[in-house]
């Protein structure tokens, strides 16, 4: 990004930011670098948070966004953040004074979010996709070695792996050792010990996966979809649940999830978060988290140091990716390695991944006086209590669908909708209370006995459950009056009923009426009508 392009972009973005500060419908264009902008609901959420955040950009921050440039643009080919940091260094305390009304502050925040989003797209995502990987004659052999690895092939390939990776690992360790100016005898001992331990480090890693699995995860990150998407795509269902559980409890993620699912209980947020941890939506979720984190910071202190803001982006993305890598490596089988066997330049990708892994390992060993415990994993493993709440599955879903039918036939569909959407019915209806406690224990959250799993399922599935019940509701609405009605009711419902849900043995006139009302709502309006 040469200086003239930077200046042009900066000016155009500043104009869009000023417009968007009072015309939020133009927000998506300004924030197009953030993936969540493809979802109007998320863009709207960001707007609402932005509006309610007391922003205090420093005069320098305002100037960096809106002041005219006072000299010819920098001719160097730099990234956006580098241009801005240079500009900030040049202006220092002499930054031009600009108006600082709340609207100006909002325009500044929008401008900052605009360039940070574009930088995320160009550097954080783009650099991975534009990286040059050089093909070599070793590619086929390296692919064959990776192919054999998940089947316990390390020991038969031990010599090849060790020989193939030793040079890069030792080279990286030497850089770290030499940077600390360690005595030569310490350096010699460390390198000699490293040579001995490397094969074991590659093969095992204590409770976590072996070094080669960790290197493999870093190879996976070089894939054509970008590191985050590749990791999410490779993560098994249990891993995604564990990731959701992890995110719902760590760092600032609980704040993000509470803003994304404001009416959900914490355990339910973890489950609903899992639905976002997919290749198609993972980048959106992470971008949203980063933006909410930035806004939170800007509301707490003087905002607007471009280097600090960019560090928030980089650190949050790096931490999230590190957790996903750890979960992937700790998974039951590294079968995901099959994904990269056909990628070009696999030898180069493997060497680059090895050097990144070795860099992390070398600094860990330096802190531990090069004690070289082969069983100690490189990086922070994702330690948590199991995989968190498990979504409903199999027979549990069948039971819940029958319970929903019972709720409808007891005339509490509106209560159910409010409970699912808002977490509460807003009244103290005794019938609803009795229905709620009829939910079998097996469907409730382990330990707490709460309904997080049930609500998490119904948030996404209630409409389809109601749709599935429509033929039965139509038949029940047409039940005749008289003595044969109960027999017909049983004939219609028994094939669908489940023993875990109490049967309806009386009150057929009401059942008939409630079935007719629910059916009359229609499929499209069933979800919206009563909320």
């Amino acid at each position: 990004l040469v200086g003239t392009v930077f200046a042009h972009r900066r000016q155009a973005r500043a104009q869009r930011a000023r417009r968007a500060a009072s015309e939020p419908e133009t927000l998506a264009e300004l924030l197009c670098g953030w993936r969540f902008c493809r979802d109007p609901a998320l863009t709207s959420l960001v707007w609402e948070v932005l509006r309610s955040t007391p922003l205090r950009p420093s005069p320098l921050a305002q100037a960096l966004s809106f002041a005219p440039l006072d000299s010819a643009p920098d001719g160097a080919d730099l990234t956006e953040v580098q241009h801005r940091v240079r500009l900030a260094e040049r202006w220092g305390e002499q930054a031009p004074e600009l108006p600082a009304s709340p609207l100006d502050a909002r325009a500044w925040a929008l401008d900052a979010l605009g360039w940070l989003g574009e930088e995320t797209e160009e550097v954080e995502r783009g650099a991975w996709l534009r990286a040059d990987w050089d093909p070599s004659p070793e590619d086929a052999e390296r692919a064959a070695m990776w192919r054999r690895l998940p089947d316990g092939g390390f020991w038969s390939d031990r010599g090849r792996w060790t020989h193939g990776l030793m040079g890069d690992v030792v080279s990286v360790f030497r850089q770290v050792i030499e940077s600390r100016q360690l005595p030569s005898e310490v350096a010699r001992r460390a390198i000699a010990d490293l040579r001995d331990v490397l094969p074991y480090k590659l093969a095992v890693g204590g409770k976590a996966a072996g070094g080669l699995v960790q290197i493999g995860a870093r190879v996976l990150e070089t894939g054509p979809a970008g590191p985050l998407v590749e990791l999410l795509d490779a993560l098994p269902e249990g891993g995604r649940r564990a990731a959701g559980h992890c995110l719902s409890r760590r760092g600032h993620w609980p704040d993000t999830l509470s803003q994304l699912f404001p009416r959900a209980a914490p355990s339910e947020r973890a489950l609903r978060c899992v639905d976002w941890l997919l290749p198609a939506s993972g980048e959106s979720l992470l971008d949203l988290h980063v933006v909410l984190r930035l806004l939170e910071r800007w509301g707490e202190q003087d905002a607007g140091d471009p280097g600090t803001d960019w560090a928030v982006v980089v650190q949050n993305r790096g931490r999230s990716r590190g957790r996903l890598r750890a979960l992937l490596c700790d998974g039951p089988s590294p079968g995901w390695m099959g994904r990269f066997l056909s990628w070009p330049a696999l030898a180069h990708r493997t060497r680059a991944a090895t050097r990144r892994w070795a860099w992390e390992w070398a600094w860990e060993e330096l802190a531990l006086d090069f004690s070289f415990d082969a069983g100690r994993p490189v990086g922070v493993p994702c330690r948590q209590d199991g995989e968190g709440p498990v979504p409903l599955e199999g027979e549990e879903i069948e039971i819940l669908e029958v319970w929903v039918l019972r709720v409808i036939l007891r005339g509490r569909l509106a209560h159910l909708r409010r409970w699912v959407d808002e977490g509460s019915t807003g009244d103290h209806d005794a019938t609803w209370g009795r229905l709620l406690v009829e939910i079998p224990d097996a469907l409730r959250d382990a330990g707490s006995g709460r309904y997080g799993r049930v609500r998490a399922h119904l948030v996404s599935e209630l409409s389809s459950v109601l749709q599935a019940h429509r033929p039965l509701l139509a038949a029940l609405a047409a039940l005749p009056e008289g003595r044969s009605a109960m027999a017909q009711f049983r004939a219609l419902t028994e094939p669908h009923w489940h023993a875990a849900v109490p049967v309806i043995a009386s009150g057929l006139p009401s059942v008939r009426r409630f079935a007719a009302e629910a059916w009359a709502l229609g499929t499209d309006t069933v979800s919206a009508e009563e909320t």
């Binding site: 730099l78 953040v81 580098q82 991975w128 080279s171 030499e178 940077s179 350096a187 990144r356």
Partner: protein
Amino acid sequence: MRVSDRELLAYAADALEPPRKLELSRLIAAEPALAWRLAELRAQGLRRALDAAPRRAEGWHVSLPSGWTLPPPGLGALQGGPAPLMGAEAPLVRLSWPATSAEDDWVLVLERIDGEWQVVAPLEAEELVRVGQLPLVDGQRQLELSAGPSADRVGAVLVPARVQPEWALPAPSRWAPLMEGSLAEGWPAGTVTAG
């Protein structure tokens, strides 16, 4: 922009993820002072690597085919002299030469002990230092060395990138082709008096 030594070292070790590598490469290209710091870090690393190399005085030596000759001080393509000490434990000498040699060529460092030239570095494949990794000062590549206690001269040869030591061979056989190449093709070399 502030860049830590650790980031620069990671860059030098090619251990950065692509986004950080992209950022740093642009900054290094734009800021000569940063490029100089990187070169200095690499040079320091090389000096320490050489200092850390095992010495004959400690009961170690590399056997070489006898007859390896290097130009006397002042006559080779690499010109030498004492270097500023900068806190080093042992006296340093410096060899420098015009930066016209290929950057992929690598540096073979030797010491003369009891009249015989001994290889000091690289002793292993990963110790191999490319010309392009050395600091560039006023159009000159610079290599700073400290001599072992028994050496009376130190020297260096710029070996073409196409020539690689056969690491699996024992030392005499490993270095013999290089000695022949050096003699036959006249690779740039130079020596300086130790201490």
